[in-house]
């Protein structure tokens, strides 16, 4: 799923953009999220700016399967940890389907996530009904937008 070999991200001199704190014990969910972000950053150089400037601890809890990860963005490097660690700036809680849906939110005008198309409206609706809960949103909107752009495959 993930090739941890060294690589140079679009000539920016970034090697090993993603590490797994739990090594071979990294959960499938951790590997999937780490692999997704790495693939996005490698194949979309426009996401590098976000990757380099993002310094935050983000937690994601998949409520229906009780799987969680902590993503430590360290400005050009990401460490993925199994479970929720203390000191998170933002924590996203949602079921598996919604977490996958978050990656399908399109990025629109001025690099903002588009909550007006069908997928965006569905995600926004889940926020309103509490099926998607984002803790730490106030004060971390820029962080959340950057994370959304790094996740987005749409």
């Amino acid at each position: 799923m993930h090739n941890p070999g060294a690589r140079d991200l679009a000539g920016r001199g970034v090697t090993n953009p993603v590490d797994y704190a739990d090594g071979n014990e990294a959960s499938a969910f951790a590997q999937l999220l780490g692999g997704l972000i790495e693939a996005n950053v490698v194949s979309h150089p426009e996401k590098l700016k976000d990757f380099h400037s993002l310094k935050a601890r983000v937690g994601i809890l998949v409520t229906d399967i009780d799987e969680a990860v902590t993503l430590d963005f360290e400005g050009g490097h990401l460490v993925v940890r199994n479970g929720l660690e203390e000191g998170r700036d933002v924590t996203i809680r949602a079921d598996a389907e919604t977490v996958m849906q978050l990656s399908n939110v399109k990025i629109g005008f001025a690099g903002m996530p588009n909550y007006l198309d069908a997928t965006g409206r569905e995600v926004a609706g889940k926020m309103l009904t509490g099926k998607l809960r984002i803790q730490g949103l106030v004060g971390n909107l820029t962080t959340l937008n950057r994370v959304t752009r790094l996740f987005s495959v749409a």
Binding site: A28, L32, G35, L36, N40, I65, V99, Q101, S103, V153
Partner: protein, 140 residues
């Protein structure tokens, strides 16, 4: 009429279900890669040898679905592997394939962003498997 799980008849019925699905036709638009499903052996469940399901999916249509070896399936662009019991759970709607992948019950190989982009299509493929009436070797 039921068909034996992971037999050629099952593959044909699965293909027909996919091509009958308007949901898949829409959600699979743009998909143009082969998908291999590896069903790992479980001798104690009367499934003694691994099998591979090779799916040629193109633009919302199943052009071919056939049963081959595990190696045939592993040669596809995207490969999802799991034990016989896991796939049986998927077909019986006891395990959602997306959740199975997030939990590591099913292993995925292939370009992750592409798979994530087609989550809806893969969910519908799972739905299609559940519509094929199956005889399971460990229940026969």
């Amino acid at each position: 009429m039921t068909v034996a799980a992971f037999s050629s008849e099952w593959a044909q019925a699965f293909k027909e279900e996919i091509n009958k699905s308007p949901v898949y036709k829409q959600a699979g638009k743009g998909w143009k890669w082969t998908v291999g499903l590896v069903v790992e052996a479980e001798p104690d469940k009367k499934f003694p040898e691994a099998k591979g399901i090779v799916m040629d999916l193109f633009e919302g249509e199943a052009r071919d679905v056939r049963v081959g070896s595990a190696a045939d399936a592993q040669a596809c662009d995207f490969v999802i592997s799991g034990s016989y019991s896991r796939w049986k759970q998927v077909a019986l709607k006891e395990l959602d394939a997306t959740r199975g992948m997030l939990q590591g019950k099913l292993k995925l190989k292939g370009d992750l962003p592409t798979v994530v982009r087609y989550t809806k299509a893969s969910q519908e493929l799972t739905e299609c498997t559940t519509r094929v009436p199956v005889t399971w070797p460990d229940e026969a």
